[in-house]
C-alpha cells in the first residue's frame, strides 16, 4: 500500500520545492549530475523525479521512465517533461511497491532520493528486482559523515530536517551493499557527505 503519510508530505512541499532546491543546490551540483547522468544508456528508470529539476541535466535521446511518490510533484514537473528531447514518461509510484516486471531496466538513476525513502534497504531491494542481472545503479546522494564533528552535526540536523523531508545521516553506501548490490565506485563530491555511487546488480 502506498505510503500516504510520505506522499502527503511531498505533495505539500511541491509548490515551494523549486524555491528551496532549485537555485543554489542545483547550480552547485549541476556539473556533477551532468557527469553522472552522461552514463545513461538503454532502458533507464529514474527514481523520484520531483519537480523535474534534474531533467535539464539528462543527456538527450534517452528512453527514461521516471517515478515519484507524489502526484503534485509530477504535476509541477510536467513542463520540464514536455521540454525533454527524448522519451521520458512519468508515473506516480512508491519505490517500495514498483509495479514493473522483474529484470526490466538496464540502469536505475537516483538523485537525492534515499535521504527520504522511509525504508531505504527495502527500496533498494525493490530496485534490484527491476534491474536486469548485471544492471547498473547510479546514485547522486547526500549521506551522513564518518568524521567528527560532521557526524554529530548531521545526526542533530536530522532531528529537524526529517520533519520537513529528508534525513541527513543515512548510510546509503552500506545500504546499497546490504540490498545485494556490488559497489563499483564511490566518489565524494563534498567531504564524505555528498557523493556519487555506482553499483551493479549481481549476474
Amino acid at each position: 500500500m502506498t505510503d500516504l503519510v510520505t506522499q502527503r508530505k511531498w505533495d505539500k512541499a511541491a509548490p515551494n520545492f523549486d524555491l528551496m532546491a532549485g537555485k543554489g543546490a542545483e547550480w552547485r551540483w549541476e556539473p556533477h549530475k551532468q557527469k553522472l547522468f552522461a552514463n545513461m544508456r538503454g532502458k533507464v528508470l529514474f527514481l523520484a523525479l520531483g519537480t523535474g529539476l534534474d531533467i535539464p541535466t539528462f543527456p538527450p535521446n534517452q528512453d527514461i521512465t521516471a517515478i515519484d511518490l507524489s502526484p503534485e510533484m509530477i504535476k509541477h514537473a510536467q513542463d520540464r517533461i514536455d521540454d525533454y528531447h527524448g522519451s521520458l514518461t512519468a508515473e506516480v509510484m512508491d519505490v517500495h511497491e514498483l509495479s514493473f516486471d522483474d529484470d526490466q531496466f538496464d540502469q536505475v538513476f537516483t538523485s537525492c532520493t534515499f535521504c527520504s525513502v522511509p525504508n531505504p534497504i527495502d527500496g533498494l531491494i525493490s530496485l534490484r528486482r527491476v534491474l536486469k542481472p548485471g544492471g547498473e545503479l547510479y546514485m547522486f546522494e547526500h549521506t551522513g559523515s564518518r568524521y567528527f564533528p560532521f557526524n554529530v552535526m548531521m545526526k542533530l540536523m536530522t532531528r529537524v530536517t526529517e520533519k520537513l523531508g529528508p534525513s541527513m545521516d543515512r548510510t546509503t553506501v552500506e545500504n546499497v551493499e546490504e540490498a545485494g548490490f556490488d559497489i563499483v565506485k564511490v566518489e565524494h563530491i563534498f567531504l564524505d557527505v555528498v557523493k556519487t555511487i555506482k553499483a551493479r546488480a549481481p549476474m
Binding site: 524555491l19 528551496m20 543554489g24 552547485r28 542533530l156 540536523m157 565524494h188 563534498f190
Partner: protein, 129 residues
C-alpha cells in the same frame, strides 16, 4: 569545495554572517559572572540550532549541504567561543560580532582543508561485468 567565484563568495558570506550573528547573540545573552563551562555549552547548543535555520536561508542561493554543514559548525564554534569569553570578560555586541565573523572565516578554512582531504574517489573496485 566549489571554486567557482559565486560559491566561494557565497560560502564566505554565509559563514561570516552566521558567525557574526551567533557571536553577537552570545555576548548579549551571557553576562560576566556566568559559570564559564555552562555558558560555553548553552551557547554552543543555541548556536548550532539557530545556525541550522539561518543556513536554510543561505542555502536557497548557495547550495544545500555545502552551506548547512559549515554554517552549523560556525554556529557551534561561535556560540562556544563567545559564550565562554562573555562569561569571563565584558564584551560589546560589536566585539562579539567581529570575533564571531573571524570564527566563521576560520571554520570555513578548516572545512576547505577537510574537503580537500576527503573529496575524490573513495572506493573503486574491479568492474565485474
Amino acid at each position: 569545495m566549489d571554486n567557482r567565484l559565486y560559491f566561494v563568495l557565497g560560502d564566505l558570506l554565509t559563514n561570516i554572517c552566521i558567525g557574526a550573528l551567533i557571536g553577537t547573540l552570545a555576548v548579549v545573552l551571557v553576562g560576566t559572572g556566568w559559570n564559564m563551562w555552562l555558558a560555553m555549552v548553552l551557547m554552543m547548543m543555541l548556536g548550532m540550532v539557530l545556525s541550522l535555520f539561518l543556513s536554510f536561508g543561505f542555502a536557497i542561493c548557495f547550495g544545500a549541504m555545502e552551506v548547512m554543514v559549515p554554517g552549523m559548525l560556525t554556529g557551534m564554534m561561535s556560540g562556544m567561543i563567545l559564550g565562554m569569553w562573555g562569561a569571563m570578560a565584558e564584551l560589546s555586541a560589536i566585539q562579539g560580532g567581529a570575533i564571531g565573523a573571524v570564527t566563521g572565516f576560520a571554520v570555513l578554512i578548516v572545512v576547505w582543508f577537510a574537503n580537500a582531504a576527503l573529496r575524490g574517489v573513495a572506493i573503486e573496485r574491479e568492474n565485474r561485468s
